[in-house]
Each structure stands twice: as structure tokens, then as C-alpha cells.
Amino acid sequence: MNAGAGRLAMGKVAAAPRQEARPRTFDNPVRLRHAAVLGALLVFPWVASPFVTFQIGAQSLALGLIALSLTFLGGYGGMISLAQMTVAGIAGYMVGILGTSGTAEVSLGWPWWLVVTLALAIATLAGTFIGWLSVRTEGIYTIMITLAVGVAFYYLCLQNYSVFNGFQGFQQVHPPKLFGVNWRDPLPFYYLVLFWSLAGYGFIKYLLRAPFGVALQGIRDNPRRMNALGFRVTAHRVAAYAVAGFIAAVGGVLLVWYNGLITPNSAGTSWLINILIIAVLGGMRHPIGPFIGAIVFVLLQTFAIDLIDRERFNLVIGGVFLAIVLFSPDGLLGLWAALKARFTSRSGSSTPGGGNK
């Protein structure tokens, strides 16, 4: 079982089965950690410039949300799907097709609430369908089949003109102006993405301790035994894909609003793999991992060119990724756990149980 999943601060989970008596005050370090991070996230846009708020903050959170769906599937369900960006792309395309965009001939211009609902529904369905196709495979075959679905969708977008508008995709896809707020301004957009990221994070943390999540982790560790115990392994896995599909769809809608456009390349092979990189970079053993991975990824993408001039900056990006994966197979979270273990053992106190999966 995952060590991190056992410690929760969300109020509604306090009644979860584990019966350790936990004080409800800030003496609890996990609770304090959550409060500190939440505080920092809320204060962040008031400290940082609009650029950092929007491009670093909001983009990281949106990408992190999509990668969270992969962490949930991969880290807790044992299924590495490369098609999570495809699901996000489907949601983004639906926003462009059903809503308003610069391509008035294709876009239908429906009201935003209908567009978002349909986009989430269609993308979640697509995610479930991809899951239904791939759950009977294991390991590398799952990766292969989801990669195939992702590439097929890329070429569909690239070559279909009547619906997906081909190579050019959709420009000027913006969030609605609601309650007198332009939701694409850095501050409102950051809080919008932050809200959904926190919701996604909280939801996954809750789900992991609910019977469904525990069963899913059981299936990850030993599907045959779970089957023998009477659990329907396939149904659980497809349901996990549905949940992951919905999370990726929310991320996809936010991402298309962030970019203001969507093209086939937004769901191309490089992005399918980038999502995997983000998830692995952060670490797959805790739902916070993908968000940490996304921050590192976006910071590198944005600032690596300042570190080393001219045409070689991709070397820095690749080098950092390689170093993290090489020195810590568990990503940045693993690095953190290793450091913590070292410090606590040096100071003589009992070692925490982090690190085992």
C-alpha cells in the first residue's frame, strides 16, 4: 500500500476506515503541510508577476491535472496509458468545435455551459472507450495500444477538414466572460485552474481510500487474487479509465483555454510523451507528484534557453530529466523521501515508512 495515501487532511475523509486517532489540529504535520501549500498557492499570484502566474502557475496546474489522470491510472491501477493527452485533446477540440472560435465555418457557437458539459461528457466517454479497448492488455502492450489510439487521433485531426479543420485546428478559443470577469486574465484564470486542480487532487486522494480505490490497488498488485476474491477486475479497470478520462477532460478544457487554440500537434506524439514525462518526473506514488513534475517541466521549458545560450538548451532539459530518473526512479517525490529518510535516521528518530510501494 502506498504510504502517502494513508495520511489525509481532507475533512470528509476523516471517517475513513483506518482507526488511528489523529488530532484535528495543526499539530498534525501532514495537515500543516497541506495548509502551508494551500496558503502558498492562494497567495502566489499576489506575489508573482502576471506572467509567472499565468504561464508558470496556470500552465503547470493544467498540465499537472492531465498528468494526475495518468498517475492515478499508472501509480494506483498499474496501467500506463499514453492516450491521456488524447482524451484532453478531444475535450479541447470539442470546446473549439461546439463553441466559438476564429473558424466560424466549422464552430457551432453554442453557449459555453452546454459546450463544456458536452466536451467533458464526450471526452470522458472516449477515455472510457480507450480503457475498454486496452484493459485486457498488460504492461508494454497497454502502452502500445494507447499510443496507437493517440497517433490515430492525431492523424484524424490532421487530415479531417469538415470537423477538425485539419492542420490549422482552431484559433481564438477563449473562456467565456462571466460575472463581469474576463476568465482569461492571469489572476482569474489561475484561480479557476487552481480550483479544479485542488478538486482533482482531493477527489483522487478521497478515491484512493474509498473501497473502489483500495480494490484498484489490490488489482494492481495481484489481479488474479482479486478475481478469486470476487472482484470484477475488468470492470474496475474500465471504471478507473473513466475516472481518469474525466480528470484529463477537465485538464483539456483548461489547457485549450490557456493556449487559446488547439491544433493536431496539441495532441501529437510529443505531447503524449510529455505527459508521461511529467508524471514520471514528479513521481507516481502520490497525487501531488504530477503537479510537482509539471512545475519542473514548465520551468525548464520556459527558462532553459536563458541558462545556456543558442541552440543547445534542449540538452539542459533532457539532462535534467535524465538525472532525475537516473538518480531517483521514483521521481522528485522519491528524492524527497530519500533525503527525509537520511536526515531522520541521522538525528536518531524512528524512520518513516516512505519509499515502499
Binding site: R33, V47, S49, F51, F54, Q55, Q159, Q171, N265, F313
Partner: protein, 414 residues
């Protein structure tokens, strides 16, 4: 435990705070330079940067009495990446003027972004989508290079002069080839040529068998608007299928890849005509001086090309416009850069390929070349200048109300 969590919070707060950039006044003008240093156009992007740097060098790093500081960024020809990189230059590095991007889709996206930054002046890099300066135009986006459709003007007449009365179009299926085909057809159809079949093929397609099977017997020539590798693939397969029609090329079709082609039909490439904003063999003194300066600054041993590419020339032109206008207003960027923009709008820019002026949409009115492939005494193929056409505007000689942006079905003359 409490103390450690507190330290952690403080550290993260400090990290966050350090990211918030600070603006400061200076006697330098910061210019952001965006080109593709990654992805399919990485080589072209690097040469574009060389062209822009050359313009700065020729100004000795000064314009309007102020020092010029260039801050570079890279994209990979994807619009979302280009906007992210531009946003970083404008909002984080606080550039005053922005030069870029390289490709068409990026240009449209950066133009859309420029509307949200009314105090910064955006000058194009080498992007050549028609829509950038025709649809939903931005008051602070300027383009001193001609675009894809303008590059093909003059080619329709040259084709008819060669006796090609009916042609088939084979082009990639996105905005840039649509523009190129329109530039060719607008003139060709007006002068009486016929285009019975248009084949739109996917970008980066490998198999042209179905397209080759569709070539009618009664066409006189093929208009091939394909990028480097696609063009070589097509030529190989067309040769294998026993094809023998003469070719008419787009602006990026008859590149060095094609001229180095080693197939049996190599000699049949002689006589291929094409439209392009740059011609290596153009012998005007300004152009020769530009080529010599490029070769001196970026010799082949230092990674330069034997002769500057289209990207180098176009980035050079746009960067030169940015610097010349700074000279004209003595570096005055006050008042939301109003004077500077007026200078840009009104200037007659001296470029290596002739004078350029802007129209009311801030789009260049300039020159283009019709080239023809010929064989030199050593047996090497090169592009000879057949004709130079001046004063081409974006309407391609049509009235504003008759003009429609090129697409799969526009224009049409079967």
C-alpha cells in the same frame, strides 16, 4: 516537526517571490527574437537568427542612439509553443519590440496575442500566412516580408509563356500551400490557363501512388507545392511510375534538396520554373553585398549556408525594418510607441531585393522572382532568375471586394 514545516514554507515562499520579475529603465532597447530552433524547421530557424543578427551587426549594435539588446527564444513551429515563448519575452524579459515567428500557424497565433499587448510593437519573422494581415488584424503587428501568395505572382504568366495551357496541382493540405496555389492560379486563370485537378496531400506523406494515378493524360505540366523531403519522395515515385510531365515549383519546392537529386530524371528538372522571394543568382549590387556580408560573418565552417536561405533574408529584412525605424525616431518609444509605429508604417525599406512599403493592414508590398532551373558547365543545377516582379500587394491585383483568401476550392478554374 513544526519548525521544519515552517522552514519549508519560508523556503517555498522565497522561491516563489524570486520568480516575480522586476522592470527597470535603461538606455538600451530590448528586442525579442523568436525563431524555430527545434522541430522540423530547426535549420531554417537557425539561419533566420543569423539573418536577424546580421542586421544588428550592420547597425553596429546601435539604433536611434541606443544600444540594442537581443533576447532570443525558440519554438518548434507549433503555435502554442510560439505564443508561450513570445509571452515569456514580452512579459518576463520585458522586451520593447518583438521580431518573429517563423511559420504561418505561429504567425496567426502571435498576431492574436499581440492584441493583448498594445504597448509592444510586433514585427513578423518569416511567417507567411495570408490571414495574419487580412483577418482580424492587429494594430501593432507589422510584416515587412511578402507572403506565400505574393511569392508566386509572375509564375502563372511564365507557365503560359512556356506553353502550359492545362496543369494539375499537387500540394500539401494546409494554409501555406493554399496561399501559394492561389498566388499562382489568380494570374494563371485570369490569363486563360485551366486547372482541371487539384490533389491535396497530407503534410509529411510518404506514398504518392494514388496521386500519381490521378494525373490526367491531357495536362501539360504539374504544379508541385511540396516541402523539401516530400518533394524528393514525390519525384522518386513519379519517376518510378514512368512520369514525364514538366514541373512548376512552389517557393520551397525547388530547394537544394531537389537540385541535388540524383535520379535518372535529373536532367528533366532543367526548365522547372518556380516563384520565390529570394534567388541565389540575382545579380543586383545590394543583393550581392548582402550575400557577401552573410558569407563573411557566417562562413560554412561556422555553420552558415553557402548562400543565405529564404529565412535568413526575410528575418534580415524584418529586423532591419525594426532598427531603421528606431533610427528614424531617434530611439523614441514613448507614448505607447506611437511615433515608432508611424515611422514603421510610413517608411520605404531598402532591402537586398528591392524597396518595400506597407499597405494599410501593415503588410509588405514588395518584389518576387520567377526562377528557372538551368545546368552550369560543370553539370550542377541552379536557379536562374527569369524575371523580377515589383510592387506586388496582398490583393494580387484583384479588387478588395473580389478577393477571397486561398483555400482548397478557392480559386477554381477547371
Amino acid at each position: 516537526m513544526n519548525k521544519r514545516a515552517l522552514v519549508r514554507t519560508l523556503v517555498s515562499a522565497a522561491v516563489l517571490a524570486s520568480f516575480s520579475g522586476a522592470a527597470f529603465a535603461q538606455q538600451t532597447v530590448k528586442i525579442g527574437l523568436l525563431a524555430t530552433l527545434e522541430g522540423p524547421f530547426a535549420a531554417g530557424g537557425a539561419d533566420g537568427m543569423r539573418g536577424a543578427e546580421l542586421a544588428v551587426k550592420q547597425h553596429n549594435g546601435m539604433a536611434g542612439g541606443k544600444k540594442i539588446e537581443i533576447i532570443k527564444a525558440s519554438s518548434d513551429a507549433k503555435p502554442d509553443v510560439a505564443v508561450n515563448a513570445t509571452r515569456k519575452l514580452v512579459e518576463q524579459d520585458k522586451v520593447d519590440i518583438m521580431v518573429g515567428p517563423l511559420s504561418g500557424g505561429e504567425g496567426v497565433a502571435v498576431k492574436d496575442y499581440s492584441k493583448t499587448q498594445p504597448n509592444i510593437t510586433f514585427i513578423n519573422g518569416s511567417s507567411g500566412a495570408q490571414a495574419t494581415t487580412l483577418v482580424n488584424t492587429s494594430p501593432n503587428f507589422f510584416r515587412f516580408n511578402t507572403e506565400g501568395a505574393q511569392w508566386m505572382v509572375g509564375l502563372g504568366k511564365a507557365a503560359l509563356d512556356k506553353g502550359y495551357k492545362r496543369v494539375m496541382i499537387i500540394a500539401e493540405d494546409y494554409a501555406f500551400p493554399y496561399s501559394q496555389v492561389q498566388g499562382f492560379m489568380a494570374e494563371y486563370c485570369r490569363l486563360g490557363g485551366k486547372v482541371p485537378v487539384k490533389a491535396w496531400v497530407p503534410l509529411g506523406g510518404k506514398d504518392y501512388a494514388s496521386v500519381i494515378a490521378r494525373i490526367p493524360k491531357d495536362v501539360d505540366a504539374l504544379v508541385v507545392v511540396l516541402g523539401g523531403a516530400d518533394a524528393v519522395n514525390f519525384l522518386n515515385q513519379y519517376e518510378a511510375a514512368g512520369g514525364d510531365k514538366p514541373l512548376i515549383g512552389g517557393s520551397i519546392t525547388v530547394s537544394q534538396d531537389i537540385l541535388n537529386y540524383k535520379g535518372k530524371r535529373r536532367d528533366s528538372l532543367v526548365g522547372t520554373i518556380a516563384g520565390s522571394p529570394i534567388a541565389d543568382a540575382y545579380d543586383a549590387p545590394e543583393f550581392k553585398a548582402f550575400v557577401a556580408d552573410y558569407q563573411k560573418n557566417y562562413p560554412v565552417s561556422a555553420g552558415g549556408y553557402p548562400s543565405p536561405s529564404l529565412f535568413a533574408l526575410v528575418y534580415y529584412i524584418n529586423m532591419k525594418a525594426a532598427l531603421d525605424a528606431l533610427d528614424a525616431v531617434n530611439g523614441d518609444l514613448s507614448g505607447g510607441q506611437a511615433k515608432y509605429r508611424e515611422a514603421l508604417q510610413k517608411m520605404t525599406l531598402k532591402t537586398p531585393t528591392g524597396d518595400v512599403k506597407l499597405d494599410s493592414n501593415r503588410q509588405a508590398i514588395g518584389s518576387t522572382f520567377v526562377t528557372e532551373v538551368v545546368k552550369d558547365p560543370q553539370g550542377n543545377l541552379y536557379n536562374k532568375v527569369l524575371r523580377k516582379v515589383d510592387g506586388i500587394d496582398q490583393m494580387l491585383g484583384m479588387k478588395k471586394e473580389d478577393f477571397k483568401i486561398g483555400s482548397r476550392d478557392e480559386p477554381n478554374c477547371p
